[in-house]
């Protein structure tokens, strides 16, 4: 999978910076994502909580069998989240009349168009593939778990009990199967067609069509159309999304935008701090040098004046001169210094001219 990891160095290595500059498909740094990427539409109003998708997911991904079998309905009595033994879970959020006997929703990675996990990972272990899946590459993961922090949907999990090869676990949208032209395991297994696989754009059309046909049945919102910049896994529902354990306060800002400002400050600091700090240093050093010279000259002057007098007196005078550093003396010294500097400059200039 490492070949699919996006790395700027590879672009650069390809042909040198100047030639290999990739072009943005959209003007003004606005990105629409991969146009033909796939996604899944989950129609929660059709979901009956049979957990066939969970079972299928375990099978296609070779995940260990859970303690309680998938047809054990008692599992649905508690709300679960994805953990390090699975990629997806179905929860029952409300009791309801037969035949469904409740309101259910399946959860897994939403395959964000601008994934927070990818933005956060400092080793670039996540890649948004052109097919729409956000895939994780275990071979580089350091295990900092910043991706778990960053994901607004609390999707990735970590195998904390693995001492030597702990890793992140997350739904892959069955990318290997999709590449073979097959359906994701969970979609294929769903007996109610509560999951629909297809091009993301088509899925949005389908969702809108269903809403148009049954305006009284659906909440008028496609969850994932714009949430955190849009996700490839979409949801429609007959119950308000908050009641399905989904956050409706996430906003539409894609994750990379949250940090781009701070990242943009980095080069500014690198560029300007040395200039500022260097400048301050130079100013202070100048001051020190001048102060030192003034002191020396003042002492020398005093010495010259008092050579005739006794040793005792000289010492005292010196001390006093040091303490007072009379304004007049200072000014004189400064003048002399400046003149000397000028003369020196002129000398130098003269020499250079020669």
């Amino acid at each position: 999978m490492s070949t699919s990891r996006r790395s700027f160095l590879k672009w650069v290595a390809g042909a040198g910076i100047a030639v290999a500059v990739p072009k943005s498909v959209q003007a003004h740094d606005h990105f629409e994502g991969y146009a033909d990427s796939y996604g899944v539409l989950h129609d929660a109003s059709l979901c009956i909580g049979c957990r066939s998708c969970e079972a299928a997911c375990h099978e296609v991904n070779d995940l260990p069998a859970p303690e309680k079998p998938f047809d054990d309905k008692s599992v649905l009595n508690t709300i679960r989240r994805t953990d390090d033994t699975n990629y997806t879970v179905v929860n029952k959020y409300k009791e309801g009349p037969p035949p469904k006997n409740g309101v259910f929703r399946k959860q897994q990675c939403n395959h964000c168009k601008e994934p927070a996990c990818a933005s956060a990972c400092f080793v670039g272990a996540f890649t948004k593939s052109p097919e729409g899946a956000v895939v994780y590459d275990e071979s580089v993961c350091v295990g900092c778990r910043y991706c778990l922090i960053a994901c607004p949907f609390n999707v990735p999990t970590y195998t904390y009990d693995d001492a030597l090869t702990p890793k992140v676990m997350k739904c892959t949208m069955c990318l290997p199967r999709v590449k073979e032209g097959k359906l994701p395991g969970c979609v294929e297994a769903c007996p109610m067609e509560a999951l629909t696989f297809g091009k993301r754009e088509d899925l949005i059309t389908i969702a809108k069509e269903r809403m148009r046909k049954h305006p009284d049945r659906y909440i008028n919102h496609i969850y994932g159309e714009n949430e955190v910049g849009g996700t490839n896994w979409l949801y429609i529902s007959e119950e308000p999304f908050e009641e399905l354990g989904m956050r409706t306060d996430l906003g539409i800002t894609p994750a990379p935008e949250l940090t781009s400002g701070a990242l943009a400050m980095v080069p500014v600091i690198i560029g300007m701090w040395p200039v500022l700090l260097g400048g301050i240093y130079v100013i202070n050093r100048r001051k020190d040098i001048i102060a030192k010279k003034e002191k020396e000259d003042a002492v020398a002057e005093m010495k010259a004046v008092t050579t005739a007098e006794g040793e005792e007196k000289v010492k005292k005078a010196k001390e006093q001169a040091l303490k007072q550093q009379g304004f007049a003396v200072k000014r004189e010294v400064k003048k002399a210094l400046e003149e000397a500097a000028k003369a020196k400059d002129e000398n130098q200039n003269g020499e250079e001219a020669k």
């Binding site: 700027f8 498909v25 740094d29 601008e114 948004k128």
Partner: protein, 45 residues
């Protein structure tokens, strides 16, 4: 495909990467430039 950028994430991967390289070269360059600028002064001190 690989020389087209479709997502903000990939755009940032590219631009921030280039900027990091430039920033490091700048730090080295600035140090050299500083020495060039102040070498005369030092000799005078």
């Amino acid at each position: 495909m690989s020389d087209m950028i479709y997502t903000l994430q990939d755009f940032m991967t590219h631009t921030k990467g280039v900027v990091y390289i430039l920033a490091v070269s700048y730090l080295i360059g600035f140090t050299a430039f500083w020495c060039f600028l102040f070498r005369r002064d030092k000799k005078e001190d």
